[in-house]
Symmetry: C2
Subunit: 215 residues, 2 copies
């Protein structure tokens, strides 16, 4: 198995946690998203993934898989232990909806290429760009906190006490929030889940700071 | 079953197609996203869905399901016929990755609340906002077209000749592109798939123009 990854990419970070939880060894192929305008935009990487984003995952060499959540569902189907989704359909839907709230509502709006467009094409200054970044994390975390704080299924982690795909999305998003110095004490359930998750080996080994391409 | 929907919401549109394909009757509960600043932001709807977005789906009255793709995966698990995902894990990953490319890379950046923030908080003019909208559809469709045009699994639809979750995301996104007068002839495979899908009854009955709250 091979993972095209960038240490700071939160979508890559999600898949690294999944691979670690399922005890799957993999080759780490770094793709530097910033150096020389971004290696993901060069023809060599576009041949791997025409979307020009990370992660890309290779299990069968003829079929590179795009999109972190598609990769994680693939791992769940082909390497079911330990499961990253609960058993009942309603609970699975709930966990997926938490993951998708982060993956579809918070993360994409703060994607590197969106921030670049905002700065270079729309022409906003750095203060406006930073406010934009914080706004989408803060408004997203506010409702995520409300959901997690109210739902009786919340445990040490987003769903009970064992990791699910919701935690795989939550922890990298908290990492981004911390990078931008967002006050996460306003989201105590999110912070508690994040802090507990990072005591687990599979999460700790997936952290950006310990990747081969970390700076 | 109950679906909180807005006729023009592409995430709602995805779920409407899924429900129609699976022949599931449902109660349509309209939530007007624009009138009076948006019904989704009022306390009554926030009680249904604190994310304050549509769609929300109710099967079990104690558990409202958020997020269109979580709803569709739930339907796939509880009402498996006809399937909206292929059989093999690699093919399922491919179809999910097409759906997620639209749901995570194109659609969220053009979400109503992002456009509102861009206009009212960043303070851009309408021309800049429209260029933003078009940019994310055009750059997203360019790589989606490339993937669909090159992959031998593309048929009359995104994967073979029967509808999958990829088509459920593609058709509503083309609807948005048409609303903004984007020249979709530049994406012949996408256009061909869209045109064929709309000849199918389940897609036609899900179109915004024939919903109870259509204007």
């Amino acid at each position: 198995m091979k993972l095209y990854s960038y240490f700071r990419s939160s979508a890559s970070y999600r898949v690294r946690i999944a691979l670690n939880l399922k005890n799957l060894p993999y080759e780490y192929v770094p793709v530097h998203l910033v150096r020389e305008g971004g290696e993901q935009l060069k023809p060599a990487y576009r041949q791997v993934n025409p979307e020009a984003i990370v992660p890309s995952f290779v299990d069968d060499e003829h079929h590179t898989i795009h999109q972190s959540l598609a990769i994680i569902e693939y791992l769940e189907e082909t390497q079911p232990e330990p499961p990253l989704l609960p058993k009942s359909a309603l609970d699975r839907a709930y966990v997926r909806s938490l993951a998708l709230q982060i993956a579809c509502e918070i993360h994409p709006v703060n994607n590197l290429r969106v921030l670049k467009y905002l700065k270079h094409t729309v022409g906003v200054d750095d203060a406006t760009k930073d406010a934009w970044y914080r706004h989408w994390i803060e408004s997203g975390f506010e409702t995520l906190e409300q959901r997690l704080a109210q739902d009786p299924r919340t445990g040490k982690l987003s769903f009970g006490d064992t990791p699910t795909v919701a935690d795989l999305c939550l922890v990298p998003q908290v990492y981004n929030a911390n990078r931008f110095k967002i006050d996460t004490t306003r989201y105590p359930t999110i912070q508690r889940i994040n802090d507990y998750a990072l005591t687990l080996d599979a999460f700790a080994r997936a952290e950006p700071g310990v990747q081969p391409d970390s700076e």
